[in-house]
Symmetry: C2
């Protein structure tokens, strides 16, 4: 399978690229607005993988080109860029592709981080509304610490939640998540349930801030 990480030069994009490249045989495409930057980062990821004994090709492209080539397209950009990104790749994605939304709208005040969904109700719903008709949208990977994932020395023992209205697409993303060592995908229902999933992200940051010794907090359900 070909996975494009758009905004794959950012922290969660890097984290997923490294983990998938190390733990699976899927082809990893790093996307960026600037293809030169994408190629530079892809080279960096190759070097990092090499340092842990994994010889792997990672390719860099402009976002549109990466989306065009991929089966699964992860929108690894901040929430306020998501809509523009979806529009910019709309004519490059097909019904057979899967769009994956990991972004969360948050704001911060003196008290901590707060969930701040877009008017659509959640970023996942915003993506579902903006995506071309027929292209399935799945929310996933919201609640993972990019720093923790990007450090390949760290063994994971974490869950991530997956929401979506298209069963096949959800199944694809659940499988991709489960293929990362130490990560378990759990389903949380349809796109209508995305807000509760996304609002876990500011909560995890608040927990890290408020409790001594907790950093890059992740979650497990049992």
């Amino acid at each position: 399978m070909r996975i494009a990480l758009l905004g794959g030069t950012g922290d969660i994009g890097q984290a997923l690229a490294l983990r998938w490249a190390r733990d699976t045989d899927h082809e990893i495409l790093v996307g960026s607005r600037d293809p030169e930057r994408a190629r530079g980062k892809a080279d960096e990821y190759e070097t990092e993988l090499d340092s842990v004994g994994v010889e792997r090709e990672v390719k860099g492209f402009a976002n549109e080109m990466a989306a065009d080539r991929a089966d699964v397209v992860v929108l690894a950009v901040p929430a306020f860029h998501v809509r523009d990104l979806v529009e910019s790749i709309a004519d490059r994605i097909e019904d057979a592709d899967v769009l994956v939304s990991p972004a969360v709208g948050m704001d911060r005040d003196d008290e901590g981080f707060h969930y701040k969904p877009p008017k659509a109700g959640s970023v996942t719903k915003l993506v579902a509304d903006a995506a071309p008709e027929g292209v399935p949208v799945v929310g996933a990977f919201h609640n993972l610490s990019a720093d923790r994932l990007a450090n390949l020395d760290v063994e994971l023992d974490l869950d991530t939640l997956v929401v979506g209205d298209d069963e096949d697409a959800v199944g694809t993303v659940v499988q991709l998540a489960d293929q990362i060592d130490g990560l378990r995908a759990l389903k949380a229902g349809g796109v209508a349930n995305a807000a509760e999933v996304e609002s876990l992200t500011p909560l995890l940051i608040n927990i890290a801030v408020e409790n001594e010794g907790m950093h890059d907090v992740g979650v497990t359900f049992e």
Copy 2:
């Protein structure tokens, strides 16, 4: 310490009463609108504790009387009863007491459960607004499965999140939570951060519904 569980005949009230009675020396007061019902339930809890080898007195009272006698008052009623309950006990609680809010506003549709906070922004905030000036309010125990807690055969290995603006009151509730075997309290900041904590509850139910073999889902952070 004296802990009053108002609405202590309901499921989360029962669960906390049994765990605190078994695992601590705190005096447990079960409150209900109907004092006869409170006394009947208190007797039931005593019998259940006796069956696991714990000889313990549990007392039942009308909610107002239980609140009057207690140092920590847990509002273990559904979200839509919380404001009335706080008003009904307002002249029975003092600045030295701590009000604890475990309730969550939710609704349900075909997709699943959704977080539905009151206009105040969260149930914890609603309680803070309704409480007499000077009485500290702490949100806690939202994300615990009452069925799992009420079954004393089940060994816990769960976290619960605590929010509040009064450091001493938060410290008291953190300690009370930590005193339950297998439960760990984590702080999540002030009352302003309660919505993210409360919205975990519908998420846990959705996860239980959507994933085979998961029941009474709880959460741990790491």
